[in-house]
Amino acid sequence: MVEFGIEFVPRDLYWKTTFYAIQAEKIGFDNLWITDHFNNRNVYVSLAIASAYTERIKFGPGVTNPYLVHPVVTAQAVATLNEIAPGRVVCGLGVGDRTTLQMVNIKMRKPLSTIRESVHIIREITSRRTLEMQGTIFKVSGAKLNFKIANPIPIFIGAQGPKMLALAAEIGDGVLINASHPKDVENAMTFIRQGVERAGKNLDDLDISAYTSFSMASSYEKAFKAVVPVVAYIVAGSPEMILERHGISVEFASKIRDAIVHGRWKEAFSSVDNNMVEAFSICGAPKICVEKIGKLMKVGVNQVVAGSPIGPNMRKSINMIATEVFPHFKKRVGEKRT
């Protein structure tokens, strides 16, 4: 079964993000993800208002990170959202964006242990058990929510590197593969299978999503222009191995990162070329996007997330997805097609 998700960055005014969230639900998106960066609008406030104006779409942070937000607070936030929209909440968790963390001088220390312990904390707290834990990263003594939670909240883990992908598959309810290229997703599936095997789980029980950067417009040029800033951030934050897989120089990526950290946007964005866009996004006119989505599905994902920017004109691009993309993969709004 294939699902479609959409990701919004709450850089826009709250009512615009909510407007697009309503639109996304109307045209048949299954999941709404909102990013969590300290320099944008707050993810949970954005989700809360979006949830109040929608009825069906599942939603959650995509993704929050335990370096800036303690997992007990994440557990509290998603549990509260679940009160507003029971059964529709999912929790996306990841190590976060290296460039943004660097701005507040936070180091991505022991990412695997941090995610493993965070998932344990969120799961225990949202199950309303009292948590005692002496982890290597987090120490929790008798933490418990003071309110009831009606249902378990699925935890999706954002991952890109081999170890994180395997861990995500091992302990997560879903994996958000931070990739747009079928080659990267196919590669990720190897590690996801390892994680599933380690946990003694069935691969079919795991939600596997390609969390893409998506930009669709009537022409490639228009779509390219919109996706460049996002691709610059991805190149800046990607592990060496992935950069090398796509023939992108590590040194060059490091220069882009430096330009972003120091606010030299023109330099950072003008360094992005067609190869980077091809490697790190689904970008172009509808036909190209449909082909790439089809390839992602063939390699084993059951959710494709259209991540920001989505297009140069958000409203038009979302409508274009409804008319030009969904008919290839979905029967009708709210129904799924294999």
């Binding site: 005014l13 009512w15 615009k16 909510t18 407007f19 309503i22 639109q23 104006y53 929608t54 409203r315």
Partner: protein, 93 residues
Amino acid sequence: MTLEKIARNIPASLWNVASEKLIDIVLNSSNASKMPSDLAKTILYYWQRDQLATEVGLHRVLEASMILEPEKTVDLMEELGLSKIVVMLKETL
């Protein structure tokens, strides 16, 4: 004349196209931060219920568009051939 009364003078046959184009003006406005929060929430309420192309919905979208982009709103009405509406809107400026 109030915007509510002006909106009532837009022929029903043009509600859809007027609403669509006004929404585009509002969403793409560089003055989006001027949108009153209460009005934004009312528009979201009607949008969720598919009522932005009804008389009440159109009134609210017209109101938002006049706050954010009065000139573009007047130009749109002209483009739609609604000369009476153009005169009425200009009087509110």
